[in-house]
Amino acid sequence: MKIYLFTLLCFVAYLPANAKDKSTDKKENMNNYKKDVTLWYEAFTKKDAALLDKILHETWVDIPSPPGTAPGPAGVKPLFARLTTTFPDLKLTIEDILQDGNKVVVRARMAGTQKEAFMDFPSKNRRIDIQVVDIHEFKDGKIVRTWHTEDWMSGLRQLGVFEK
């Protein structure tokens, strides 16, 4: 179970609610990707779960993700709820965005104060502030795949998990 809660942690990208009509050429869509991904991080920071339904491709896959995770927006909902309640002041801050074709790389920081038990570890009211790197792959103007890594070793130290 513990592993799951950690591997659940992921960051996916966002596409505008007002999807462009199908006549929009591919290049224009690709030019929007860097801008589009920023909105996902805003969604987490602003705790606007409704956005998630609009931003992910129905086949979206999170890598790594726990076995049995549903594809598409439904798969990210438990994570969203968990993170935003455990860390009510959760804030994602983008540090850099890179793009190579249909892949968009985002370096960000994830910060927040632990207010509930996390991975069975009770809250010490400590603040986490860790490095994150996510890569979002687009297809047909939507995110179909996200690879994610977070520096949880530093995070657990910050939360006091290793203190006696």
Binding site: L98, D100, V105, V133, I135, T149, W152, M153, L156
Partner: protein
Amino acid sequence: MSPSDAAKAVVRRNTEEVQSRGNFEVFEELFADDFVDHTPQPNSKADKDGVRDLYHRLRAAFPDFYADIHWQAADGELVTTYKTYHGTHQGMFLGVAPTGRKIHFETVDVMRVRNGKITEHWGVANLFSVMQQLGALKT
């Protein structure tokens, strides 16, 4: 070769020849003397010496250490690499005595390549997973 492909090749050489095979002559060739690591590991220096030490420590802890590169992406001078490291735990690592276990962990990093040299690094390694695999995290 395009500039992006050339930059990717520099990073790949480091991953395959230095990290995976322990060829530290190549390390000296590839890393700029004013290299800066923006995400150093705890107790590591954020410069070229720090990275060299880290690579040596990894190879000492996991003598068969190697990387499986899944893909690379480049945006100008900045190269992103998604990879999985593998190794057998035969030396001290993060304070954990050798267990003989085979471990693996994903890492994503971004490196800046300028004039053929690696000048900057940002990365996240899933060391939490390593500690789990080594049985080092008590509940």
